[in-house]
Amino acid sequence: MKKYEKYIKKLKKETGHFQLNAVTNENCELNFEGKSIKNFRHGNSTDFFLKVYIGKREGSSYSSVLDDNLINNAIKTAENSPEKEYFYGLPKPRSYRFKSGQDAKLRNMDIKDMVNISKRIIKKINKKKVILNSGSLILNKSKIRLINSNNIDVTDEGLNFGVNIEASSSDSISDYEDYYFDNKFFDAGKTADNVNRKVMEFLKASGLNKKADVVIIRPKALVSLLNYGFLPNLRGDNYEKNKSLFSGKMNKKILDKNITIIDDNSLKGGINSEKCDYEGTPSMKTVLISKGILKNVIFDYNTALHNNKKSTSNSSLFGIDFSNVIIKGDNIKEPDNAIIIDTIMGAHTSDSITTDFSVHVQKAYLKDKDKLIPVTDFMISGSVTDLLNKSVGFAGKEEQREGIYTKSLVTEGVNVIV
């Protein structure tokens, strides 16, 4: 604590405002391959991220060490920078009611536990005709301390546990990759079971030779399209700088009335839930799109004030970012005839502004009533806004993938290229 006091004193003396984030991480990664455990990576790191303000001039710097250089570097940057377009100060202390979940099983997990989980996965995958190509278990324990010039001093802790598995059939005809991350312990064996089942199913896969009017997009594929091809339009910095398709459309209808999108870093048990964001704004639920109408975009403190709004608690280390995103719409039963898109490739090439996409479908099913026929290697294209505008509803179980909570989207807004 004394180490901090010295530098806080210096910052108070030499800057107008400051924000210091100290991020400590402990990372463990166990890799496995074929029938064996391969290697283990373990490490600790602490990084300091500092922003200082001299009038409306901002300077930021980062370092693995809290020292005079970190502060001098930020001050020098601020002194040489032009004034920011706007700066309204930094958040003031608030009460933080939300307590981040701390899963005891994860908190106490060690290398031996990870070895045992891996052995179980290896055993599950390597049977019949399936070979485990590679896999990993990842555990991250983090501690983030925020101190600012308005006397905010808050510490939050986080946990993240994940599994990633790639397997193929022994003749290499079929393969499948799956992953899952959460902030609480889960049975990684279930991911292994899913990979195993899919490799076997897609051994019988064929090319797609017919089109369908209705397409069901499973959460795994949907979240990558949303992340790359849609959500950037709901960021406050993009919105105010005309880098959003929805710039100037606040309180207007932008999507079908079936669609509601929420950001919520106070979500109970949410993977990205936290006490507050990186600036110290307490976590909260923000309705972004309500029944197709644009209600808000995500903001940090200053971008919000500049747009006559309040911060939505979405400040991240490197800008404005989403926390837990919840996609909602009418719940329906899955239609009898449709193409089910399971895994896609190339979603990151989507145009985040126009929302246009054109991606390769790696794994899909042709649904004919209760019969699912595995199909592979074709393309789908369109725009994510069309996907959502022409949605018929949401079906199946809600899943969390990459911080997005959604069911499968049933839509008529996709162009299938055979």
Binding site: I37, F40, N44, D47, S64, N133, G346, T349, T354
Partner: protein
Amino acid sequence: MNISIKPYKFLLKEKGIDYWDFRFQKIKNTNILGWNNHIKKISRGTKEGYCVRVLYKNAFGFAYGNLNDDIRNTVKRAIRIAKLLSEETSMKTEIKEHHKINDYKKSSFKTDPNNIPLKEKIDFVVRNSRITNKVVKSMQLQYEESNIENLFENSENSLIKQDMTFTALRSVIVGKKGSRTESYSHGTGMMGGYEITKKYPAMYRDSLRILKDLFKAENIKGGRLDVIMDPRLASVFIHEALGHATESDLVLQNNSCLKNRLNTKIASDIVTVYDSPLGNEWGSYFYDDEGIPAGKTLLIEKGVLKNYLASRETAGKSGLKLTGNGRAQFTDNMPLVRMSNTFIKKGKNTREELIKNVKSGVLLNGTKGGQVNTSQGTFHFSAQYGYLIKNGKLGKPVKGVSLSGNIFKLLKNIIMISDKREYDFPGFCGKNAQQVPVNGRNPYVLVKDALVGGSE
């Protein structure tokens, strides 16, 4: 660099330790982001860290830390992990040895960025992120400068120091006409200095011209077409469609369609491809992160697969030769087999001759990135924009176009390659959550009968 493993080497002399290496890295970075005549963000900082990798009997233990940690404890941790895993693994891990190297290398530049005042760099970004055209609604420019100091020591008594400076410019231009929004991203990067800023006027002119064309561009429906890939798209194509599948860790994992294909024909006769970290490219280095000298590796020669890219571990396992492609993002990460700069050998025809040879097709320019399934040999990548070709002549502009298909089919369908390598394509390639800089500088490539996806 005042850090060294020397005081702790005695810990690594324990019986059973067959190999160890120690890396220290210090990255000093300046990143200036301008947006519409304002500074959006200036970030300057230093990231320092070190790692120890220990091979005990048949298992690797890897531990890392930063300057807040005691190196002695990190060394002990790496040994402890390796010992524990050696009892749990059934994998035979061997390391391909290399002779001892003592060397120091420093990259060159015309203008040392350290001699340019910060204010001048900031002014450059602000001045060039101004909106100068009424179609343009948003203009973003990023100047990036990194100085990387690397130290490598290992049980072969090698001691290698590298000091490399990289610079890059990236821009995003967004325009609006009525209800239509279009954008274009551009970039250039190199192992070099502040002289990169001289490339900006041409970059801006290109961006503006292409943005204007994008407003005339239409989405196409897609289907099977003859395709000319421009040098940037060809760079992503050869990186994604071929390069990843030549990474020998994937080959050994049964995760590459090029397994058991060495010395077999996989592409048309006119295709020769190599990977090379030499020179002053964005993906260049002198030594990889395992202390192996950078070198040119022939991947395909006249259509025949000649080599896989290798690390010490994969070369040790499979008897491959070391190629100097063991790379790690930072000291937090273990080295993986990675590409560097990937090149297609120039052909004999001009760009115009390639166009003349297309009856019905499309010229695709620029890229929004790509992805590959190395196991199945399928790939996908998107162009930024393009032009239809009818009877050997360029027609109307198109957008939202992507290429998808099978590696072998596409490589065999390459029928012409142009005689000039143009443009660099500085990017970051992701693998196992590690990003490393990669580049390509390639010719125009004509492929017949490719699966083109449109967004109409």
